[in-house]
Every structure is written in C-alpha cells, then in structure tokens.
C-alpha cells in the first residue's frame, strides 16, 4: 500500500461520523412502523409489544438482522417442523416439566385458560435471565406462552411483513391486546428493555396481550374470535 492509501485507512478509523448508537432501536422501530393511518395512538401504546413482526423467516435473514441491528444476545429461532408424538417436541420450548415445576421455575403463577382446559404439556425455557413458560394443547393445537414482563410503553408497534399481514387492536378482559395474522416471527420489546424475537411455532397468527405483570402470547389453530375466547378464559 502507498502512504496515501495507508493514510486513507487511518482516516477511516478517525472519521468523526455519528456513533450510530441509536441505530438498532431506530431501525427496529422504523421496520416496525407502518405509516398507514390505521394505527392509532392507543394501539401503538398498547401493543407496544411488537417492535417488529418479521415475516422474513429463513436462514439468510435472521442472523443478518440481529447482526446489523446490533441486537446482541437475541436468539432468532427458525421455524421447526411440527413433530409427531408430544406436541411440544421440536418447538424449541425448552424442557418439559409439571405445571408446579414451571411455576416454581418461572417465579409466577401460571393461570390456565378454562376454554382449553388442562394443558397436555408444560414446558419452560430460559432466554438470558428470563424463564419463559409454555402450555401446549393438542386439540385444538394451541401454544400459550407466559413472559414475566410487561410490554414496553415506548415501543412502536406494527408490522413488517407481507402485505396480507393483519394487525388488529383487540381487547382481552378490558385490557388492550393485539391480534396478528400472517407472520412468521414476532419481536417483543419488553418494559425491562429486553427484546425477544421469536418464530411462531404452530401457526402464522398470534394473539398478544398483557395480564397483570405478564405478557401472554397465544398461537393456535383458531380464528381471532376463538383465540379471544381462549384469552378471556384465562383464570
């Protein structure tokens, strides 16, 4: 290399360009924001949950996103194929436990939705310091996930995805929630600053809502109204 080329490399290391510290959040928010007017303020606050609903799927996209967004420590899961036998096997739900063990491990009570009855399986997994509990039913096929954090107030919600993705503001027991149909992954921005990006495991539709200090996520072979009935039956 010539002196000038070396000097240019050195200059590259000394450029006073913006630090880009706000990029991960700004990009995630921009990806999430849909300029369409159908998103009202309430819904943005509500929902908050979803920083981005990433319908990109596939091996190419996910690591790259996490990398350039700087979302260190976020696991992006691929969609596994449903496995025969135990419903939760292959869904990357962690380890199978009893409900009592799950409550002990998670550190919170796990209320059951009366509409689905006792779950066929209970699973817990660890994501960083967080323990995530999941209940699984075989018929109808359903997965209810409990996360011990609220949804970030300041997070912007919306879709990033296919044109046919539906995001709808709903109410569960008087509390705001979100019905999202037509996605492969959801990213939750939680009120403790954590961001969870997760593939949907059973269906391409999900109902998200807050219940007390918890965020609940229901994926099922159920339409919106049936999902809402399940959500409202959580005891």
């Amino acid at each position: 290399m010539t002196d000038l080329e070396l000097a240019l490399v050195d200059l590259g290391d000394h450029l006073d360009h913006p630090a880009g510290d706000r990029l991960p959040v700004a990009v995630a928010a921009a990806i999430a924001v849909d300029p369409a007017p159908k998103l009202n303020r309430t819904r943005r606050r509500v929902a908050a949950a979803v920083v981005a609903v990433l319908a990109v799927g596939g091996a190419v996209a996910s690591p790259a996103i996490a990398d350039w967004l700087g979302l260190r420590g976020v696991e992006v899961h691929q969609e596994p194929a449903p496995a025969p036998g135990r419903v939760g096997v292959g869904l990357d739900l962690g380890r199978q436990v009893t409900l009592a063990d799950a409550e002990r491990g998670a550190g919170f009570d796990i209320p059951i939705p009366a509409a689905l009855g006792e779950p066929d399986e209970v699973w817990v997994r660890r994501n960083g310091i967080r323990v995530i509990a999941s209940l699984v039913w075989d018929d109808p096929r359903a997965l209810l996930t409990y996360i011990d954090a609220g949804i970030a107030e300041e997070a912007v919600v919306d879709k990033f995805s296919r044109q046919d993705t539906i995001i709808e503001e709903v109410t569960v027991d008087g509390e705001p929630g979100l019905w999202i149909d037509g996605v492969h992954e959801v990213a939750f921005s939680l009120d403790d600053g954590d961001v969870l990006i997760e593939s949907l495991r059973l269906a391409d539709r999900v109902l998200l809502w807050e219940r007390g200090p918890l965020t609940l996520r229901l994926e099922a072979d159920l339409d919106r109204d049936a999902s809402l009935r399940v959500a409202e039956s959580v005891g």
Partner: protein
C-alpha cells in the same frame, strides 16, 4: 475488522457527512425489506453497502448539494507506551484534516470508491459489487480518484 454498521456509517459519512446516521438507518430498513432479493451465496456487506451508497447518493442529489463536504476527524486518544508524543499526534492530526478536506472536495463518485476501498476496507471485487461495475473498472476508478485527491492535497504530502 470493520463491522457492518461501522462500515456503513463510514461510507455514508463520506457521502453525506453529518446525515450519515439517517442514511444508514434508511438503508438498513430498505435492506431489511429487500432481504428476499439477497442471494444466499452473495457476500452480505457489499450488498448492504450498495444500498447505503444508493441511499446516500439519493439524499445528496435531493438536497442539491454541490459544495465541498466538510468531513471532520477525531483525534487519537493517547494510550499506553506506544502513544505518540503530543507533537507527533498533532502532525498526524493535521495530515488527517488535510486529507479529509481534500476528500470533501472530490465528486461523490470519487469519494464513494475511496470510501468503499479504504474506509470500509472492501476488496476491489467487493467494491465492484457496491459500485455495480466490473472489478477492472474499480481499479481505474480508484486510480483516477486517488489522482484527483492528490491534486487537493498540500504539495509534498503523501508523496510516495
């Protein structure tokens, strides 16, 4: 190794100066939306930087900017025994500032090829991907950009 985000910021800064972060943000969002068009076997960074460069060029064109770009440089933070003396550091800084000023007076295309090659440290092949040209063309564009850069430098500086 210069990470994607850092590489993107450097290239964007060379193109648009202080608006670099906005350009990178828009570019990342567009890149994200275009991931389905990204070929699995293609190198990721040139693809990303191409979007950054398009975004930067559009922004500069839209702003109708023709004036020289004021690129700022930061000083070395002295560290350890190997740190240069204050005099050496001052000279190095002066040279960087002269180089940045000269760079700022180049045309956008010249700055882009130099930024890809030396700021983002892409290979000539990768630079060709960003520029959308043949690798052989990168060599000649680099050479012309470097020659023009020298014209804006104080006489005798970086004479090899």
């Amino acid at each position: 190794m210069v990470r994607h985000r850092e590489a993107a910021l450097r290239v964007a800064y060379a193109l648009v100066g202080p608006d670099a972060e906005d350009v990178v943000q828009d570019a990342f969002v567009k890149a994200h939306r275009s991931l389905d068009r990204f070929r699995v076997d293609a190198p990721f960074r040139p693809w990303l930087l191409r979007i950054v460069s398009n975004e930067g060029s559009n922004r500069r064109r839209a702003a109708g900017r023709r004036a020289a770009l004021a690129l700022r440089v930061v000083a070395d933070r002295p560290s350890g025994d190997a740190a240069p003396s204050p005099e050496e550091a001052a000279v190095a800084q002066e040279r960087r500032e002269a180089l940045a000023a000269a760079l700022g007076r180049l045309a956008d295309g010249d700055r882009l090829v130099l930024a890809c090659r030396w700021f983002a440290q892409l290979s000539e092949l990768e630079t060709a991907e960003v520029l959308g040209c043949r690798p052989g063309t990168v060599k000649s564009r680099l050479s012309r950009a470097t020659a023009r850069l020298r014209q804006h430098l104080p006489e005798g500086m970086f004479d090899d």
